[in-house]
């Protein structure tokens, strides 16, 4: 019953909006349990559930679902990041109706993303990309602030261009193949691979996920959207929304529809390397905590894309792992940002300093997250970057491997600068009264830090036991 991934959030969405007393109050717990269920479904991997072939919903709408190991990683990531975002929302969104809208939109986005992980049909994918995107536009502006509206508007416009390109590509592909399901399209593309028409269609469709995942040079909207949105939404955007509707769609299409043609691989690796370097360089110059994280996201997405572009089994595993790792450590960093925003009322790093002494948990967890981002062992980010770099090097892409590895120095540079300005240093006068975040946020931070540490320390173990990872590699 794979369709439960779509149906449960859908029913949940209806349930919390029923005109019944108390339904609204249940929204948080209902949604939270949904995320927990999703995490458990992947981690415990009950064969009763995953083995059930008959799917009434899918049969009714005549669509095909398929789940592979990559989608398991995606489900897990969605579960974790969604839960974190929900908790941050509960503690940082001051306004009760805003909080309720936030939960509703989160559920809508969840439907969209889970569907994307399951679907094997170009047109339905397009539909659910739109579902996810629309809910995220509103999420960014959920508090109706001016900068947030501006960020949302920018995202909306650029995203619409992406949609238009994808839709026209679907139309072109439909002309060639007569269907939009993956198998048929893939076969048809192979049969007429020489035609300009097909090349145009592929190029058009690829532009969509490129824009959605904010790869350089299509990244213009991303820093504005991430930094203007409330932190709870930034977590969601950086961790999963742009990743699933951009990066994951790209991975899925390249792997199972368009195939690894030399041109596609070159484009992916080039775009990936460009994003890695550009994002890191731009992050060095930022003084807004969240903008820095946004540029860092661009840079880290570059790693996933360069791994995908390499195309070997090891590289894809590295890319999938980095997808997960990035979601975790970036969520942690945005949670730190949420704490800053809540306790200091600003995310301007020049107004902070020496905060570790006031907020030890926030300081230490941000340290773990940043070291992981920079790929410093023994944290999780090291292993995924290592897999990607080893794969690049052994398949002869020495230049790209060197860029990917040495860009870690840039990552380290901007995060060290962040640590110096925000946490590690003498306490800035005027900040003596700052308090550590509330228990809920502290627990979230510590839990995420433990995930990073756990994945890092137990990585070799996980490679051989955890279902999704194991199956990708072996």
């Amino acid at each position: 019953m794979l369709s439960l991934f779509i149906l449960l959030p859908f029913f949940c969405l209806i349930a919390v909006n029923l005109p019944v007393k108390g339904a609204r109050r249940l929204a948080f717990w209902l949604t939270a349990s949904l995320f927990v269920l999703q995490i458990l479904a992947v981690l415990l991997h009950p064969s009763v559930f995953w083995g059930m072939k008959e799917d009434l919903f899918a049969n009714f709408f005549a669509i095909n679902f398929s789940v592979n190991n990559l989608s398991l990683v995606i489900f897990l990531t969605i579960g974790i990041v969604g839960l974190v975002s929900l908790i941050i929302g509960k503690y940082t969104l001051a306004n009760r109706p805003d909080r309720f809208h936030f939960t509703n939109l989160l559920l809508t986005a969840l439907i969209g993303m889970n569907a994307l992980a399951l679907l094997t049909d170009l047109f339905s994918m397009y539909v659910f990309i739109e579902v996810t995107a629309l809910s995220s536009f509103i999420l960014i502006a959920v508090q109706r602030e001016k900068t947030a509206l501006e960020g949302a508007f920018k995202y909306l416009i650029i995203s619409t261009i992406a949609s238009a390109l994808m839709l026209s590509s679907v139309a072109l592909i439909l002309l060639v193949s007569g269907s939009t399901s993956f198998d048929v399209v893939s076969a048809a593309l192979k049969a007429s691979s020489g035609s300009v028409f097909v090349k145009l269609a592929v190029a058009l469709f690829l532009c969509g996920p490129f824009i959605k995942s904010g790869l350089v040079p299509f990244h213009g909207w991303l820093p504005d959207a991430y930094s203007a949105a409330p932190s709870a939404v930034s977590v969601l955007l950086a961790g999963i929304i742009t990743k699933v509707s951009g990066v994951y769609v790209l991975m899925k299409l390249v792997m199972s529809v368009f195939g690894f043609t030399p041109v596609i691989r070159d484009i992916l690796m080039f775009a990936g390397a460009l994003s890695i370097v550009f994002g890191a360089l731009a992050a060095i110059g930022q003084k807004d905590f969240k903008r820095m994280l946004a540029y860092s996201s661009i840079s880290q997405v570059g790693y996933i894309i360069i791994g995908l572009g390499c195309g070997t089994k090891l590289a894809i595993a590295g890319a999938a792992l980095h997808f997960f790792n990035h979601a975790v450590f970036k969520s942690l960093l945005f949670t730190n940002a949420a704490v800053m925003e809540q306790k200091l009322g600003t995310v301007d790093m020049d107004k902070m300093g020496g905060l570790t002494s006031r907020m030890p948990f926030t300081g230490m967890t941000s340290l773990i997250a940043f070291l992981s981002t920079a790929g410093i062992p023994p944290l999780s980010g090291f292993w995924s970057k290592l897999l990607i770099v080893v794969a690049l090097w052994t398949s002869g892409m020495h230049g790209y491997a060197a860029i990917a590895l040495l860009a870690s120095v840039l990552t380290l540079a901007y995060f060290l600068s962040m640590q110096r300005r925000v946490f590690f240093g003498k306490l800035r006068p005027g900040l003596e009264a700052v308090q550590e975040a509330g228990t809920g946020l502290v627990i979230t931070q510590v839990a995420l830090a433990l995930v990073i540490l756990g994945v890092g320390l137990g990585f070799p173990f996980m490679l051989k036991t955890l279902a999704p990872l194991k199956n990708i590699l072996w």
Partner: protein, 477 residues
């Protein structure tokens, strides 16, 4: 007790203790201090017992998990002994030194974590495991250099982190190149695979970048003098005795014990080492900040170690390894003396110091003894290591470079006498200064005495190191 268990204890004891240090520190400072000391003494004892086992020809090789293995051969045990011994002394010294600063829990956490990573690095028999521990030492060194949290201190800590991380990443590419040719990250497998052919020059270059950045050798040396802003025991621990020796150790482990490099590297590395030694000796001449001066001296002395190891014949390598021990003892002593001077007088500029021998006689004598060892005056320990390196080099016919290194050695004598003269002799500038606390004085005094004893009883470490070199180079006893 099986040797495998001992080996795991040596690595795991500090790493496990680290988890409890911040917790216990919340309740009792005393208990935390004792725990930190135990965390350093246990590996030392374990290594000491292991030393007898490996002398008998045992080489324990416990597989930790997932095929990542540790391995104790004589080289590793020697290095483990030196590091855990010096760490124990330095932690003992820290008790009083650090007792009136903030963030003490973090201090002990980082120092013990560093020791654990060091032990792990020394005993790892897998390049990835080695790299993991290598970077953990970088993290701890970053936190410790910026310990006092002033903006310019943190900037210097960031610099050290960035320089060493850059080198480490270059080294990682080198490791991946080796992986590509041999199909394994395991040192034994690599050795088996590369028995006949030397490894690619690019890989050597990249790995050397990592080694030189960690061991603060030209052109990656600038972070080390800057790192003098750390608390003095840290400077002694990280930047004189142990951390900078990581690079030297990995050089011996990879290029001497595991695979060969092309012949011309045996000339190139000594030349780089020489430039590093002579330039930093010159810098030590004009430097007036006491800790920076000793740091420059460290860079200079590490040049001698690389010289010995890169020459590559038995005598020079024995000298180079013995140098690690002798220099570790003496330089740790110098830094700890500098720490006492700095803390008691609040002055680091040697032009403003003077006549301290009257008020701090024990510290002065300890400083002098350690200086003699670094200078290489017989019968101090430093003499024998320097002698072995030089005579090994002459044996291989490197006359010019040996003569050049003699100049550097002569400069060492000059600048250390200059320091001693300016700081301890002459007119007393600050007569009210007293000797430091008994534990601190005891530590520096024992390091000073050890510098002398290690020279008089040089036969024992010499024999051990010689056996290690035989084992390493696969010679028959």
């Amino acid at each position: 007790m099986s040797t495998q268990f001992l080996l795991i204890t040596a690595v795991a004891a500090p790493l496990i203790a680290v988890l409890f240090i911040p917790l216990i520190g919340k309740f009792s400072k005393q208990a935390r201090n004792v725990l930190s000391l135990i965390a350093a003494v246990v590996p030392f004892i374990a290594c000491a017992i292991l030393a007898f086992a490996v002398l008998k020809g045992d080489s324990p090789e416990p597989v930790l998990f997932f095929g990542l293995a540790l391995k104790a051969d004589m080289l590793a045990v020697f290095m483990g002994l030196v590091s855990s011994f010096l760490s124990s002394l330095i932690i003992l010294y820290s008790f009083d030194y650090i007792s009136h600063y903030r963030d003490q829990n973090e201090y002990y956490f980082m120092v013990v974590l560093f020791l654990g990573a060091m032990m792990g690095l020394v005993f790892s028999s897998n390049l990835i495991l080695l790299y993991v521990f290598w970077e953990i030492t970088a993290i701890t060194s970053w936190r410790l250099i910026g310990f006092f949290r002033d903006r310019e201190y943190v900037l210097k800590a960031d610099k050290a982190f960035l320089v060493t991380a850059f080198g480490a990443l270059a080294m990682l590419i080198g490791f991946i190149m080796i992986y590509q040719t041999t199909g394994s990250f395991d040192l034994a497998a690599i050795k088996e695979n590369l028995k006949t052919s030397p490894i690619a020059n690019l890989a050597v270059l990249l790995i050397l970048a990592g080694i030189f950045s960690k061991s603060a050798t030209l052109p990656f040396h600038t972070w080390l003098p800057d790192a003098g802003v750390a608390p003095s025991p840290v400077t002694a621990l990280l930047h004189a005795a142990i951390l900078v020796k990581i690079g030297v150790y990995v050089f011996a482990r990879l290029f001497l014990a595991t695979f060969n490099m092309e012949q011309f590297w045996h000339t190139v590395v000594p030349v780089i080492a020489f430039l590093s030694a002579i330039i930093s000796a010159g810098a030590a001449f004009i430097e007036t900040d006491l800790k920076r001066l000793i740091a420059f001296s460290t860079i200079s002395q590490i040049g001698f170690i690389f010289f010995g190891l890169a020459i590559g014949n038995e005598m020079a390598v024995v000298g180079g390894l013995l140098y690690i021990l002798m220099h570790g003892i003496a330089k740790a002593g110098l830094f700890l003396c500098a720490g006492i001077i700095e803390q008691n007088t609040k002055i680091r500029d040697i032009t403003k110091l003077g006549g301290l021998i009257k008020t701090m006689p024990v510290t002065a004598i300890a400083f002098l003894l350690c200086s003699f060892s670094v200078m290489g005056i017989p019968p101090f320990g430093g003499f024998f290591s320097k002698y072995l390196v030089f005579s090994g080099a002459i044996k291989s016919g490197h006359l010019f470079i040996t003569a050049a290194f003699l100049v550097a050695a002569f400069m060492t004598i000059l600048y250390l006498f200059r320091v001693f003269n300016m700081v301890f002799l002459g007119e007393a500038r600050s007569p009210q200064v007293k000797e430091a606390s008994p534990t601190m004085v005891f530590t520096v005094a024992s390091l000073g005495v050890l510098s002398l004893i290690s020279g008089i009883l040089v036969w024992y470490p010499y024999k051990f190191v010689q056996d290690a070199v035989w084992q390493m180079m696969g010679m028959v006893k």
